[in-house]
Symmetry: C2
Subunit: 405 residues, 2 copies
Amino acid sequence: MEARRRFLGVTTALAGALAGCSGGNTQQAAADADTEPSLLGKVPSDYGNRSPHEKSKRTYADSKTPQAGSSRTPLQDSYGIITPNSLHFERHHAGVPEIDPAKHTLLVHGMVDRPLVLSVADIKRLPSVSKVYFVECSGNSGGEWSGKGAPDAQRSHGLASCSEWTGVPLSLILSEAGIRKDARWLLAEGADACKMARSIPVEKAVGDTLVAYAQNGEAIRPEQGYPLRLIVPGWEGNINVKWLHRIHAAEEPFYTKDETSKYTDLMADGKARIFTFDMDAKSVITAPSGGQKIAGKGFQEITGLAWSGRGRIEKVEVTTDGGKTWTAAQLQEPRFPRAFTRFRMPWTWDGSEASLACRATDESGYVQPPRQVLVEARGLNSNYHCNAIKFWKVQADGSVTNVEA
Amino acid sequence: MEARRRFLGVTTALAGALAGCSGGNTQQAAADADTEPSLLGKVPSDYGNRSPHEKSKRTYADSKTPQAGSSRTPLQDSYGIITPNSLHFERHHAGVPEIDPAKHTLLVHGMVDRPLVLSVADIKRLPSVSKVYFVECSGNSGGEWSGKGAPDAQRSHGLASCSEWTGVPLSLILSEAGIRKDARWLLAEGADACKMARSIPVEKAVGDTLVAYAQNGEAIRPEQGYPLRLIVPGWEGNINVKWLHRIHAAEEPFYTKDETSKYTDLMADGKARIFTFDMDAKSVITAPSGGQKIAGKGFQEITGLAWSGRGRIEKVEVTTDGGKTWTAAQLQEPRFPRAFTRFRMPWTWDGSEASLACRATDESGYVQPPRQVLVEARGLNSNYHCNAIKFWKVQADGSVTNVEA
């Protein structure tokens, strides 16, 4: 009932917006509709492509070592909560390996009673589940620490994407391998050239972790770990090990190069935090957002994405006056834990400058902080785990720009 | 807790299957993992593609008039409930028109107080929603009426797909246009060369119907109606009018060529049913299914898809003995109304012949019928709305084939 009242309330505001936008020459439009060309269109195809009018793409920085690089999802062009596989962000440490799934195996060994070598076909026979989860690079929004921030949602927040993943619970494979009671950590290792590897506590591994082979209804894409990826819901992206080929059970963490030389958080006092697994609650307005332009005064829905590695998003508040007042946005249901949640708020733009932002609260009660709170707590040495509130400024001409925080 | 018990129960059965499949030479596998090539892989890209090892594609029949044709989703290769946009089924009446979204408009006229012409940009400013819905051609499984049936899930059930659609509730647009109280029907017309058009009761139009512009996180694909498609949840696919450019409100239905010359159901007595909107409850096993082969004895998950135009799927039962006994399958949660629901059942194949099938029950209490019940009720004159139970036969060599019903 609340949603219905909101829509009806909005409708009143729409009248002006639509009259202004549409021109309203309906007789001409009807005549046009009757005289449109009647050429037969294209025939069915075996694998479709998007319209040539759609130009949205992943962006990446120039680099002398592009294999150790990343590309970003164009969140400003996103709808709903699913990220198209072709636009899912990338972060590689040694490029995308070319893997023949018929030759790929997963080795499970170490402190297990029955070491296993599983083919991809073996894994696909096992009991499976499908779950919607985000994956976010812990370096996402790292540029926001400086306070200058990125000019659009892609460059500020585009190292995060969300998919329906299908695979086998890791708990099942570990149970089958007979993991020993004194095993406390796993190594998960990829088959890329650098053998990217991370240590994972067994408690998480037997919780919601999946050995996934499919993403949004098809095989996982090469750049997302084809043919097997570990999905560790809500944890740093790099722990969701791609091209997964080995799991080693042990008593202690492995302190791999990938969790000592990087992915630690250097504090102001010179000490570094290690194993900061969870991605905290975060949100960003995707429309209207940096680089976009509002066509004119009137009704303009504000929408964006929120997510938390600690569970469900419980609330997203939106401000249009630079943080003086905040209003709860509508959350698209159902809200999956550790997945993108789409939020929306009706807004009528009066043509004057406005400062927009959103802040998320998750089911643990954690509230997304302003940048200054993060800087005070952690200093400026590390770029990881920046989940600060992001502001966009609407200029009087309707263009939207970044705001220094 | 039930799911957990089931997995644990399965695990016992897995022991044999995995030992048989994996060979278990873990020392060799560990040595292989240490000596794999270490070449740098591919660099990030702006729009990704699937692995060249993935060959799944839409299929279509040869035709002298391919613009009035269809292509089918490879459901046997599906995972979860989302259909990749590139593999969403097609059914066109005059091919896929090439439309510039900057020039495309939606005209709303007829029995309305304020006729409207909306641009795509206008529509994207309005309050939006995202919902997961299936779309199914009413001719899907038409070949099953004969009793011979198709040899694989793609050719038997592949005119059905499921997406997260984003758009504006049609109720909002109709309210804005001031639809008159005595308007009872709408015409929804596409901008394709044949101006495919259907009549829709206002009651449904102001219910859950959407004017959608996005599908699975990106703009709707050209073959799915770019830039605007009417989504009429649970109703015949053709009513989900693609390339939507005109809505006309009236007192009576329009009896267009598309709802008189086709999409009526000719009964045995020569009378035809018209406006048979709802797609009834239906299901199909996607793995193991026709054309696939089970690699060997042992654990083999049975999985498939169920859906109903009348709401949520409440139950899917699976038989492995040709219908003598039926067991409730596990349903992937959450179950969205009028969307695909993924079902799964643990099964251990003993190497002998088996006859597999599934039957769905929806929240209205309706149970998917055997083919003979449909034939007795409706005769053999019409190919539309076939939702019969589909059987697959597992041969002793593990190959899976169609069963004549």
